[in-house]
């Protein structure tokens, strides 16, 4: 016991001198509202349709991290902010962050608060709230369309269900086109383009999901995927759209082999070649795009797809 106490006494000076673990100042907590607002403002005009959203110094989406930091500042510096000088600023900044995270309803709420708390922001905040309401209305998915269509197919009214779904997609896209006209030259132009792209992708996904239920479903699904790839070739997601198209053709090739074993007389080398060529060409297009993660994805998928083609005897498929 005495020995252990002696040890403790002897080691006390050493423990006192030992420094605390080094804290990296880069990751220090946020200091003030202006820090977040300045960073967020830097990225408000960003063209998030063509380019990936910015990331902050921790690698997080800058809109998301700004929102979290603002919320934490509101809690942690509640006393200092009690006077309310920055209430409107914080609400407005949260609106700007939320709309880039597709939480249009919450963004509209935040803008309304900003309009209420800060007269200087009122006009801009109300205008932004209106745009967010319109975006929310257009992007509201409604019921799960694929599920509806499957049920409709079982009940024998698939054609009507598809017509209704297409009408809904067209209406949403039309409404967004109208919004786009009113927000030209603002950052909302990019947000609207992103929403139009999402609707086009949803439409293509819808037909891809239904392709086995409708006549010429494969052709329609491929046409829809091609339409997305062509309409949105400037988008940051263009490589992803091409990958989806290639993936569809790869699926079709695999399904074709499953349905028509290569050794059987039903197997048509020309049809299989068409599917393989198309999928491989599209994968190759993406695999040549330097500096994108999709390049790696496309290269590996192409490799995997060609490995699948090795299953087919060379007298039935000659690469």
């Amino acid at each position: 016991m005495i020995r252990s106490r002696a040890l403790l006494v002897l080691s006390a000076p050493w423990l006192a001198c030992a420094s605390a673990p080094e804290i990296n100042p880069t990751y220090a907590p946020t200091e003030n509202v202006l820090e977040v607002v300045a960073v967020l403002r830097r990225h408000v005009p960003d063209d998030t349709y063509r380019f990936d959203p910015a990331r902050d110094f921790t690698g997080r989406n800058v809109y998301r991290s700004s929102l979290l930091r603002l919320e934490n500042l509101e809690t942690r510096q509640a006393d200092a902010l009690r006077a309310g000088h920055l209430d409107g600023v914080i609400a407005f900044a949260k609106g700007r962050a939320l709309e880039r995270l597709r939480a249009f309803d919450l963004a509209a709420d935040a803008y309304r608060i900003a309009a209420e708390r800060d007269p200087e922001l009122r006009a801009e905040a109300l205008q932004s709230a209106d745009v967010c309401v319109a975006l929310q209305a257009s992007s509201d998915g409604g019921p799960e369309l694929t599920e509806l269509a499957t049920r409709a197919a079982a009940e024998g009214r698939l054609d009507a269900e598809i017509a209704s779904a297409v009408r809904r997609f067209d209406e949403s896209a039309g409404a967004l086109e109208t919004v786009a006209e009113s927000v030209q030259q603002t950052h909302y132009a990019f947000v609207v383009q992103e929403e139009i792209e999402r609707i086009d992708v949803a439409r293509a996904d819808y037909f891809a999901a239904l392709r086995r239920l409708i006549p010429d479903g494969d052709v329609r699904a491929a046409a829809e995927r091609q339409r997305v790839a062509m309409h949105h070739h400037d988008s940051k997601n263009s490589s992803r759209h091409l990958l989806s198209l290639a993936e569809l053709y790869a699926d079709l090739a695999e399904e074709y082999v499953d349905a028509n074993p290569p050794e059987s007389l039903r197997f048509d080398p020309a049809r299989f070649q068409e599917l393989i060529d198309t999928a491989a060409r599209v994968y190759e297009m993406v695999a040549t795009r330097d500096g994108t993660p999709e390049k790696l994805e496309a290269s590996r998928r192409l490799e995997a797809f060609l490995a699948f083609a090795l299953r087919v005897d060379r007298d039935r498929f000659t690469p």
Binding site: P29, R42, F51, R96, G291
Partner: protein
Amino acid sequence: MTASRPSRARAALALLALGLSAQACRTPAATPLGPPLERDPRFAARVPDVADQTAAELAAAALAGSPSQTANALRRMQAIDTVLAASEEPTTGLVPVSHDLVNSTLGGARAYRSATLELLERDDIEPALYERLAQASLDDPLVLADQRIRDAWIIDFGRAFNTLADPIGRSVLTLTLAPYRIGRALIEYAVALRQQDALPLQRRQALAHWKEFIERNPDAPEVAELRPKVEAAEARLRETQRDQALRVADKALGKEDVRTALVFADRALRIVPEDPGALERRDEAAAGLLALRAEQRRSLEAAPAPEDADPAAARPLALALLLPGGPVESEAGALLERDPDGPLADEARYSLSIAHGEAGQETQMWDELEELADESPSQWNMARHASALTLDPRRNAWSAFRAARRHDRSNRALWVLVGPFYAGARDRQLPQPLEWALDAPSLAESVMSTPVRLLQLPWLPALPSVQAVAASARDYLARYPDGEHAAEVRDWLVDYEGDRGNWIGAMTIAETAPDADLAEIDRLRRLAGKQAYDAAIHEKNRSLRVGMLRLIPERFPGTPAVEAADAQLRNEVEFASAQSIRLSRGFLLENPRVAGPRGLALAPGLLDGDASNGELHPDGVSLLGARQIEICTIAPGEDEKGPPHRAQETISAEQLARLVSEVEETDLRNSLLDSDDKFAPNAQRDVFFERARLGLADDVDTRATATSEYAYLGMRERYGLVRARESILPFELVLSGSLKDFSLGAFPRIKEPRQTPDAILYK
């Protein structure tokens, strides 16, 4: 051995073909006399003899699975040959193949293989059958495994032997350097041995063959001997896979990429549970990841407000930042002026840079951000945000472009100086200083040859580092098409694309310039048109090819490519055919059965080497789909180098069926008799042949992907008169001289066995 007779026969045919061709070249060609094809050749009906009937009985019994009848039929067939031989008449030649047929009814692949090996002992087997049986006898998992193990052994032994033979051979004239060279080679060998997988590729192949054998023959006596081998090999395979995963984990840890390191350390642990090395790396990566996440969480938190905090002071600038067109510059300036070292000064500086950037002062913006990024983050909280921006190569593309160019230039300079070491020491999975130490002698030798590389510099192709420059240039133009540096970046990118022959890319970029030089655009358009035309004519898919040709006048108007594309399009339309399967003149000369009455029934005068009665053009005969064939003869007054005279003929369904059967059988037989004449599969051709044999050729498939452009060529056309033969010796003699170390020597080098075509499945 067995292929020697037919090879000689084919060589003689090739010589004959050469003679005939030479003769054909001398005389100007005339119009063929008479029709080029014999119409519906008739063959006398053949009455089956006793041998034919016995063969049919044997086949029927084998198919019906009747062992006694099969044995009886085989005995009868042997008796027929015995009688024929006794009466000094030619035998039927059917006995070996009859034996093979009987062997194929034996139960199991092993029984068939044993019987085949026994059959191969006979001396009356015709060469093509011998080759087929020999190939079948090798198709056994144990034989294949033994071959792969032998390959692995040769590789191991060969590497050790070559390690010593090379330095000794090089030191014949400079003996004093021998100990140094041998020592160095041994060190290299030891390092390579350390890097080698515990279970190299060939042994992995052997393992797969052993496992297949056990699965197919679980009760075979060899299984007891194989099981311990399989277990040992599997343990080494796990070791190999663990080592591969740990190598990736180590590299990731070296780059502080703890996520990747964790994934691969985990993978190594799944392969070899409780492996100490994997556990150590997993713990290190997990600790690193936890620390990183804690840091990231901390950065999202908010610091307590200082005692003297005045949120109102931030309001004017915050409003200016949030309102469109807000007076950011004046508010930030005012804040900075009020308190240049105050707590909000860095926020003001950051905001100022935003204002300058949006006013088009791109350089000023990045300079200000870089200045702020250089500040200490413990003193100025905005330094980290500025740093994140300036270090983002996509946003700060100009800086990334300049850095990449500097790196590329320095790589070129280093290449001149140290040659292949410009990118660093060779990766041997050793600590870097050790890798450099191992490479030091080679590095010194490389430095000696600097003058040679200096001379090569103007022709040095682009180094891989130039791709990063191009990627940054594209990023810059995408984000800042009218940026301060756009002209310079655009010019560089146009040059880069031009240097690598991508004129379409170069033209597309040049066209985006606001003050584009029209003469330069015109030059680029001409080159781009030619590139598009070249790409189109090399496209195999007909419909795609036509589509590409049609685009040329639209995209490259006024260029010579338009005329060429139009001509090619006309050609495509004029000569469009459902199939384009060619039998060249050389092929027909070397395989007279195909040209003869049982095949094509080509008029003999077209292949007699006498041009005065018309002669077949080297392009030969093409099957165009349906029952159409095209016969290319040397055009009157022309020689064989000129364009052919094309004539189309329609043959009967029976003749077409006979022709394709003859072509296929001849091709298959040739592939068995000559290892250089490999049978080349072609799906579209085979479908057409299949339909032709069934008499369905008239039902034409017009899809572009149904077209075959396969060409049957003669061996001389493919390889010339004298074929280069690969030595059968397992080693080669190397004569070596080097200016780097002034060495000269000769030494034997053991050749590594070639990897089998399925090696890719084991990598």
